[in-house]
């Protein structure tokens, strides 16, 4: 089945460092999205990248998509303690009303 699978499962870095998380999926997609979840809280939409895009930026976030390798990466630059959270990629296959398929997530800890 189509799935997003993130790696690493857990990542611990110092404040100010960059954090890179990766996501792989199995089937062709329409879009790939990244979400953040603070412990026990809701999912916050970070960024959407379409299948015909290769890179997208939003503030300190940079997302890349390689459809030939069926993979995406999320880079957070100059990390802050407030970036500590779990990060999930989610994929969908068609436009409009389509469910998202989530990966297991990467738990990021940013140490001050």
């Amino acid at each position: 089945s189509q799935q997003g699978e993130e790696d690493p499962q857990a990542l611990s870095i110092q404040e100010g460092e960059n954090a890179t998380m990766n996501c792989s999926y199995k089937t062709s997609i329409n879009n790939l999205q990244w979400y953040r979840q603070n412990s026990g809280r809701g999912l916050v939409h970070l960024i959407l990248i379409r299948s015909n895009e290769r890179e997208k930026h939003s503030g300190r976030l940079r997302v890349t998509l390689d459809t030939s390798k069926k993979s995406s990466s999320l880079l957070i630059t100059a990390s802050r303690a407030a970036d500590t959270a779990s990060y999930f990629c989610a994929t969908d296959v068609i436009s409009g009303n389509t469910p998202l398929v989530f990966g297991k997530g990467t738990r990021l800890s940013v140490i001050a």
């Binding site: 809701g42 999912l43 939409h45 436009s95 009303n97 469910p99």
Partner: protein, 112 residues
């Protein structure tokens, strides 16, 4: 900034009881979703809703589950006879059809 809201934030119920989880999607959105996340596991799709009817549902969404949009603002998920394994965070999401889905803070359901 508009956001999806959910009530209650935490619901404790006894096995076999009915529960209704409530959501107020973002007002100009047309697509509505329920997802759930069992503690420590992936976020899983339950059901999507568009034009006053279910458009897609997962295997999890069996006869014990139902959804309703009783008025122009609320979107509810009902579980008729709760089981222990229904304990999870339930997330409502809404979207306008561009595939970005905006999630609420979740309702933590505990079945005892």
């Amino acid at each position: 900034e508009p956001e999806v809201t959910q009530t209650p934030s935490h619901q404790v119920t006894q096995m076999g009881q009915e529960v209704i989880l409530r959501c107020v999607p973002i007002s100009n959105h047309l697509y509505f979703y329920w997802y759930r996340q069992i503690l420590g596991q992936k976020v899983e799709f339950l059901v999507s809703f568009y034009n006053n009817e279910i458009s897609e549902k997962s295997e999890i969404f069996d006869d014990q589950f139902s959804v309703e949009r009783p008025d122009g603002s609320n979107f509810t998920l009902k579980i008729r006879s709760t089981k222990l394994e229904d304990s999870a965070m339930y997330f409502c999401a809404s979207g306008y059809g561009g595939n970005e889905q905006y999630f609420g803070p979740g309702t933590r359901l505990t079945v005892t």
